[in-house]
């Protein structure tokens, strides 16, 4: 076993430990979060946030195991790293101090997941517009998370559609175009008074152009 394999194995241990502690923190938040506000962050919706924490912890655990798969591409490894880093940081706002041990474990595991930072940076640069479209999809998911039930459903579906449009490389242009429309227009129409969903729709439409044309390479400096 070489050093890289050893590191991957170490990440599995760290990630699973963080995930198990995270599930426990989420369960505590669900069961007695309102009784220990100084530890659980004094949240208004401890049950919902506890369940969200459990879900994200399971995702982190999956990412920790998955990153050990041989032959992962730079993007595959980056996705695993994000699967550890995003829950590691996001859950600081869901269960308060209960998350501190998991946060440390998952963030360290996420950082150690990356084998070659240069390859990761290059992958990001080459697919930068896809990354931006994905980020916009995540913003839509964020808005949907705080929306009324109908808007929440439309927003979650829309955010997922935008993310899918960013990464379905082999899909026909018509499909990608349809995903961008479905991902933005219904949410913007239903939430017009909030302005931002409409702004997001316009920005997504502009950024989707190079993605759909498969022309999203980072500018190269002339030699």
């Amino acid at each position: 076993m070489n050093r890289t394999d050893q590191r991957h194995r170490f990440v599995v241990g760290l990630g699973l430990a963080g995930a198990v502690l995270g599930v426990a923190a989420g369960a505590v938040q669900v069961m007695i979060g309102s009784q220990i506000p100084e530890w659980s962050g004094a949240k208004a919706s401890p049950t919902g946030l506890g369940l969200l924490t459990i879900g994200l912890s399971l995702l982190a655990g999956f990412a920790a195991v998955r990153q050990r798969t041989p032959g992962l591409t730079a993007w595959g490894r980056t996705a695993c790293a994000l699967g550890l880093l995003v829950p590691g940081l996001l859950c600081l706002s869901t269960v308060g101090r209960l998350w501190y041990p998991s946060a440390v474990l998952l963030v360290v595991a996420g950082v150690l997941t990356i084998d070659r930072w240069r390859d990761t940076g290059k992958a990001f640069a080459q697919d930068w517009f896809r990354v931006l479209l994905t980020v916009l999809g995540c913003f839509e998911l964020l808005m949907a998370a705080g929306a009324a039930p109908l808007l929440m459903v439309v927003g979650i579906a829309g955010g997922m559609a935008l993310i899918a449009a960013a990464w379905l490389r082999s899909a026909p242009r018509a499909v990608l175009f349809g995903l961008v429309i479905v991902g933005t227009v219904p949410f913007a129409a239903l939430a017009w008074a909030a302005v931002v969903p409409a702004l997001l729709a316009v920005v997504a439409a502009v950024i989707a152009i190079p993605v759909i044309r498969d022309d999203c390479a980072q500018p190269e400096v002339a030699r």
Partner: protein
């Protein structure tokens, strides 16, 4: 990447000229880099705004613990259910200055003296009016639950903190249209339609049964209505010019959803009666300062509140400093508002004139507003409360409330 013109290699008269900048970067590269950078900045800005949408609950206004009392008040049985209805009453600046003590056969209502608006209400008239509003809701809810209330106001005298004692006994449930309207009653600060509210309709809003020493003056004729509107705008301007009054009012403004959910009281953007688009934009912007909030209020008073009022109502009495009168005025006001709600008529409390009258009297300043208001009212009818009514352009929105459990000891 470099770009060169197509050229004939045999034509030596035309030199090959790659389109480079002096640094060796092609124009296309620069433009693409600019596009990528601009797109990144725009996406980052969209992210900041998206977070504001999420953080201020722009897509789900009126949600969260702060608004739950509006949804579950009818489902709570017994005396606590009556308190759940009481906490939905109107109060000055939504201060909710009440504490309840609930027993199996009685409910006591106490004033929470800490919940005051300072120099805005120096004589605490509005505070006791708000308590009267809560007592009215409490009585209506007791009747609806078959609790047969017997009300005693100020059982410990006007100086006591206990403002009402409600004796309960078993009886038949007596629901009413006023009780049913409790959950839909909201102060509506938005524009009203130009439609006139007929005098008979205005008169029918007033049910003063059991409430002595009070009367309601309706001001709906054009000339006195215009004069009242002018008086209200002048009072609003005087109030914001008085820094202490301005500051004492501003502390009850809740600028963020976090504050709304934490304090569950006070004035909120949702209650300002602006259009959905303006409300959405306002929630995206940083919190407004006291002075800009003051200017907004005066502008709304001038261009919306007074400009679209169908009529003004003034509850008057011969002794506005009497605590019993203040409590009864609150009960009467609540009845008027609930009746108006059940008939699709909007109401907004507009007490800046009496607030200035009280401020001038407590600071020893020369009275300027009392004489002007007296000219609009019958002799010996001293103003206690003022409000406007009309048919609303859009519905009023609920404002945050502390739950019955939070205000019960």
């Amino acid at each position: 990447m470099t770009t060169t013109r197509k050229e004939n290699p045999t034509d030596l008269s035309v030199p090959s000229r790659p389109i480079h900048t002096r640094t060796g970067v092609s124009r296309r590269t620069v433009l693409r880099a600019f596009g990528v950078g601009a797109a990144t900045v725009v996406v980052a800005g969209t992210g900041v705004l998206s977070y504001r949408v999420f953080d201020n609950a722009v897509l789900d206004p009126g949600s969260g613990k702060a608004f739950e009392p509006w949804h579950d008040w009818q489902h709570t049985p017994g005396p606590m259910g009556a308190v759940a209805a009481a906490v939905l009453a109107a109060s000055p600046h939504n201060t909710q200055p009440w504490i309840f003590e609930v027993g199996s056969d009685a409910i006591d209502v106490f004033v929470d003296s800490a919940r005051a608006t300072g120099t805005v209400d120096p004589l605490r008239r509005e505070q006791y009016v708000g308590l009267g509003c809560a007592v009215e809701n409490l009585v209506l809810a007791c009747h609806a639950r078959g609790l047969q209330p017997v009300l005693t106001l100020l059982p410990d005298g006007p100086g006591g903190t206990r403002v009402a004692h409600v004796e309960l006994s078993t009886g038949n449930p007596q629901p009413s249209a006023l009780y049913d309207a409790i959950g839909n009653r909201h102060t509506n600060r938005g524009p009203y339609e130009g439609r006139v509210v007929p005098a008979a309709t205005l008169a029918a809003l007033v049910d003063g049964a059991g409430l002595t020493g009070l009367s309601v003056q309706w001001i709906s004729d054009p000339a006195p209505k215009a004069a009242t509107g002018e008086l209200l705008v002048d009072a609003a301007e005087a109030l914001i010019a008085d820094e202490q009054q301005s500051m004492d009012g501003y502390v009850w403004f809740r600028n963020s959803n976090d504050d709304v959910q934490r304090y569950r009281d006070g004035l909120v953007l949702d209650g300002q009666g602006v259009s959905p688009l303006v409300l959405g934009i306002a929630k995206l912007l940083p919190a407004s300062s006291r002075t800009s909030g003051d200017q907004f209020w005066v502008e709304q008073t001038r261009t919306v509140h007074t400009a679209t009022a169908a009529a003004y109502g003034v509850i008057t009495t011969s002794s506005p400093d009497d605590r019993r009168n203040q409590l009864n005025a609150g009960r009467l006001l609540q009845r008027i508002h609930l009746t108006a709600t059940s008939q699709g008529i909007a109401l907004q409390h507009m007490n800046q004139v009496t607030e200035r009258i009280d401020r001038e009297s407590t600071t020893g300043a020369a009275p300027t507003f009392a004489p002007r208001f007296a000219e609009l009212l019958p002799p010996n009818a001293l103003p206690l409360l003022t409000f406007r009514v009309g048919y609303p352009v859009r519905e009023g929105r609920p404002t945050p409330r502390r739950s019955a459990v939070e205000v019960t000891r």
